[in-house]
Symmetry: C2
């Protein structure tokens, strides 16, 4: 399966600016990207990165300066085969979770992100297009139906957890198995419990 991983190489993870320096944000985003590429390759996919500028990773990189939605739709329009689109900040992704995505039935497979996003998808219908603005999960459900594509959803906490904010770092510490969790631990993050809530602190 062809798998495309969009990546903001210039200024990634802006919602973690209260936790990390700009250099740390870039390093952490790169570690997550590496983990996602590893999980996809181990699940038998052929991952490529779709980046806003050149990035140094162990996978082919296509540079497209457009915003996420038109860049991904460019890929979908150019492809005759099924394409997976997997976000670069799924630090909890495992080969097993990726295989569940690839093997789910349907012309369009959606892996919901917490908060109504679409963290991963498989497009097997030639007319399906993405729109990542707003509640994209709802829009993708509707968009698939509008072109007559059957839809299934993958129920995965690992794929639902895109790492955007401090609260998500606790999930990486709890469930991560790759470079992102190692990086977090190396810079001093650990789980702590404050007033019954679990947090990542350093």
């Amino acid at each position: 399966m062809r798998a495309v991983v969009p990546f903001d190489a210039a200024d990634p993870k802006t919602r973690l600016a209260d936790v990390f320096s700009p250099a740390e944000r870039r390093a952490f985003a790169a570690a997550m990207l590496d983990d996602v590429l590893d999980a996809l390759a181990s699940a038998g996919a052929d991952p490529t990165v779709l980046a806003t500028e050149h990035v140094d990773v162990d996978a082919p990189v296509t540079v497209d300066e457009r915003a996420l939605t038109p860049a991904v739709n460019g890929v979908l329009a150019d492809s005759d085969d099924p394409v997976a689109v997997v976000m670069a900040d799924l630090a909890l992704a495992t080969p097993t979770a990726c295989r569940r995505l690839f093997e789910a039935p349907g012309d369009v497979v959606l892996a919901p992100g917490r908060g109504g996003g679409t963290n991963a998808l498989v497009a097997r219908h030639p007319e399906f297009r993405v729109d990542y603005h707003g509640v994209s999960l709802r829009d993708h459900r509707r968009g698939a139906r509008a072109v007559g594509a059957s839809v299934s959803e993958v129920d995965s906490h690992r794929l639902a957890t895109d790492v955007d904010e401090r609260a998500d770092l606790a999930e990486v510490l709890l469930h991560g198995e790759g470079r992102a969790v190692e990086w977090l631990q190396d810079v001093g993050f650990a789980l702590s419990v404050t007033g019954g809530r679990v947090e990542a602190t350093r």
Copy 2:
């Protein structure tokens, strides 16, 4: 499979006090409990409620005034057969998600909750006991290993989503299929997008 659903009948969902009146919290908690019981029964389980005081539901109720951990451990100590323990606020639970929990291998099966909780589990080992304080997922992983029990985890966004706070209500609106989402819609909640984030508002 015997399935026990602990339920705080007196003052449920205190972290939703900024969203709901006390009467609304009780009604919403009861709707979620009904959804969980339905999903468990449809998945072939035999659900009972373990409540702090009597509650009017369509399932047998055992009243135990103790805190969650000792009450559940009382059930585990008294049972020779496998027991599932499933939280009452999993408003996204479906029969399919419950079957994945029941059918997972291992002496102890854990369904992680977002934030390090243990939203559902299956205990098939006579010595395994729970401790819901703190980062219970980590403690349950360790506790199972300490008694020589094999552990597996169920990767499910539906089971990972316990409905505790306002942000969780958006998940109910996005994915709910039962009484809880109906109740939310009836009292006027809908999804809205503010500054790129999805929220449940009324």
